[in-house]
């Protein structure tokens, strides 16, 4: 009998007791499903980190202004004296980065303006960002039509703006944008360009903005028109906040200098900002950190996988031993009809392997479905990698072969004279 025929016979034998077969597989199903789901979550997380780094640029560092924790006394002070809460990076500081740290090639400021953007008489959720002409270069972000901001826009404080592709859609739909003006707060800006589509997946740790949904105006113009102070109304309280630069992106000359520059930068900023109102983000560090987490995760997963497959394999062995005991008459009859010991061994081994193999397949389906559900429910990115599928499949099948060996040997050693015994 060839392997295919043996497999067909084994399938038919298993089909005689479908519920038992399913229950026997359960251990392997759950084990494999857990591994597939977990691996696809960690794979998705890795992909997300890489995507963020890709969007951000591997050679870039980010420094962000962070609102420090306000002590109670200060808060009291604030409400009494109509105090403006001032924190974060100063524009003047940015120039110092470049002079003090020769590895810094470019510094681009970003100032998010909390202004409403009007499309006709409709308010939109588009974000306005004051920045410099180098943003396009540093993010490898190109204009799809027209142009990006230029140094002369900044020098002349021109009231011009460049639209992200999503912002253009919201503001103009299919109408031409050339020569049109956009109302930002109370001021008008002339549209001079539209950027290409830059997809950035939903972000976790790094908090990447959606570039497509932004409008860019020259930093200097924005500061001139709106100033650094913004007022936000929160639950009946007016909060006045003064921030010059929300974020700066720094391009570093070479990749291997990023981590040391990040360290020097932290050092420098800690001295200038003892209240800790800043954050230095090194994408490469994030990657390394995620790789470390990944490694731990992989070890934990591998242990769970090994354990569940061990349990699943023992379950299969247990049921197969019971099968052999119940089917002694069949085995004896097969021997009487001419089956050699190895034919019987193969037949029973095939049943064990099929149990774990089908269990593995069901587990892969269940795990992939579970990963999909998690993605829908929690919004995490997941990826069922072919590697995970192949690994799960191979390990499950191997478990069937290992734990099926003893029952198969027992089956082959059944005395053929049982075929003639009457019970």
């Amino acid at each position: 009998m060839g392997p295919l025929e043996t497999a067909r016979l084994a399938l038919r034998s298993l089909a005689l007791q479908k519920v038992r077969a399913l229950l026997t597989m359960l251990g392997v199903v759950i084990g494999v499903a857990a591994v597939i789901a977990m691996l696809s979550i960690s794979e998705g997380a890795k992909l997300e980190t890489l995507e963020q780094i890709r969007v951000l640029g591997v050679n870039n560092l980010r420094v962000r202004s962070v609102k420090p924790v306000i002590t109670e006394r200060k808060e009291e002070e604030a409400s009494r004296e109509n105090w403006i809460f001032e924190y974060g990076l100063r524009f003047a500081e940015l120039a110092r980065f470049q002079t003090l740290l020769p590895d810094v090639e470019l510094v681009v400021p970003l100032r998010e303006l909390r202004k409403d953007v009007w499309a006709g008489d409709r308010k939109t959720d588009i974000t306005v960002v004051g920045t410099s002409s180098h943003l396009a270069e540093i993010l490898n972000y190109r204009a799809q039509a027209g142009r990006f901001l230029t140094p002369s826009d900044e020098e002349s404080l021109r009231r011009v703006c460049v639209l992200g592709s999503g912002a253009r859609r919201k503001l103009f739909r299919f109408q031409p944008w050339q020569g049109e003006d956009v109302k930002v707060g109370e001021a008008w800006f002339r549209v001079v360009g539209v950027m290409e589509d830059k997809s950035a997946k939903a972000s976790g740790g790094i908090n990447l903005p959606d570039l497509n949904n932004q409008i860019y105006v020259p930093y200097a113009t924005a500061m001139g028109v709106y100033g650094a102070t913004s007022v936000k109304e929160t639950t009946g309280n007016f909060e006045a906040v003064k921030v010059e630069v929300d974020e700066a992106i720094l391009r570093i000359r070479s990749e291997d200098r990023i981590v040391p520059v990040g360290r020097s930068l932290r050092h420098m900023l800690t001295r200038a900002h003892p209240q800790g109102d800043f954050e230095v983000i090194v994408p490469l560090e994030l990657l390394h950190q995620s790789q470390r987490t990944q490694r731990t995760f992989t070890i934990v997963m591998a242990s769970i996988a090994a354990l569940s497959l061990l349990v699943g394999g023992i379950g299969i062995m247990n049921i197969m031993l019971a099968n052999v005991a119940e089917r002694k008459k069949e085995i004896g009859t097969r021997r009487a009809l001419g089956a050699r010991k190895r034919d019987i061994r193969r037949q029973f081994l095939m049943e064990s392997v099929l149990l774990s193999l089908i269990g593995g397949l069901l587990g892969i389906a269940l795990g992939a479905g579970g990963a999909r559900l998690i993605q829908l429910a929690a919004g995490w990115q997941t990826l069922v990698s072919p590697f995970a599928v192949v690994l799960a499949f191979a390990v499950a099948t191997a478990a069937g072969a290992v734990f099926g060996t003893w029952p198969a040997i027992k089956a082959a050693s059944v005395d053929p004279i049982v075929a003639l015994r009457e019970e």
Binding site: M1, E5, L9, R12, S13, A15, L16, K329, E330, T333, R334, R335, A336, L337, G338, A339, R340, K341, R342, D343, D415, P416, I417, A419, L420, E422
Partner: protein, 228 residues
């Protein structure tokens, strides 16, 4: 009887060891069955009848003497060689039919041929012809649990004939059947004998024994008469 015997027992003995005690199940049994003979083996339980059946069917080995099946000395053959000889030379018919519940009628009849390595198409063709021959053509796709006792035994007979064996070994073939069905199965065995098959039947039913050409009587591990 000029041709070589199908079965030649020469002083065959079988001694079991049970907890250091030697039990003689069969002692110095000598007899021959020639091609085309229909022989019954009869005896009360414990007489050594079952042991003879196991030895004849190559399911057990003699501890002394010589057994030639179709001219081949089987005493020294290893397990695989005996399996293969059993597969090609012996067709078994069991008291409780021993059909495989996971296979249909055709599948059951194919089993001995699949162990003989007969190609699939050929196997199915031969199985279907045999099923037709035992009058179950209309049942070929059924599972054993959908058949009556008589039908099951007819499938088993077709299966016993699958590899065109030199010897058919039947163990109480009508023991689990009602008398009408039993008669039909006995008639079928008579018919096989008439067509030239060599059959050995183990039974303790004297009526059935009487239908055979010769009866070998066994008692207390020895052949009483009918050896030749």
């Amino acid at each position: 009887m000029s041709a070589d015997p199908v079965v030649l027992f020469d002083r065959v003995g079988r001694v079991y060891e049970k907890g250091g005690l030697k039990v003689t199940a069969l002692r110095e049994a000598s007899f021959a069955v020639h091609p085309g003979e229909y022989v019954s083996i009869m005896g009360p339980s414990g007489s050594g009848k079952s042991t003879m059946l196991h030895l004849l069917g190559l399911l057990d080995r003699p501890t002394s003497g010589s057994y030639r099946l179709n001219g081949t000395e089987v005493r020294e053959l290893d397990d695989d060689a005996r399996s293969s000889l059993r597969n090609r030379s012996i067709g078994f018919i069991f008291q409780s039919f021993n059909l495989f519940s996971q296979l249909d009628v055709v599948g059951n009849v194919e089993v001995p041929m699949s162990y003989a390595g007969v190609p699939r198409r050929e196997r199915t063709r031969r199985a279907e012809a045999l099923i037709e021959q035992v009058g179950l053509g209309h049942r070929r796709g059924h599972r054993p649990n959908e058949l009556s006792g008589g039908e099951m035994q007819r499938v088993a007979i077709a299966r016993a004939l699958a590899n065109d064996p030199a010897l058919i070994l039947a163990d109480e073939p009508t023991g689990n059947l009602d008398s009408a069905t039993a008669e039909a199965i006995s008639a079928m065995l008579d018919d096989l004998h008439a067509k030239g098959r060599t059959i050995i039947m183990v039974t303790h039913n004297p009526e059935l024994g009487a239908r055979t050409g010769r009866t070998v009587r066994v008692r207390d591990g020895a052949i009483l008469d009918g050896a030749a």
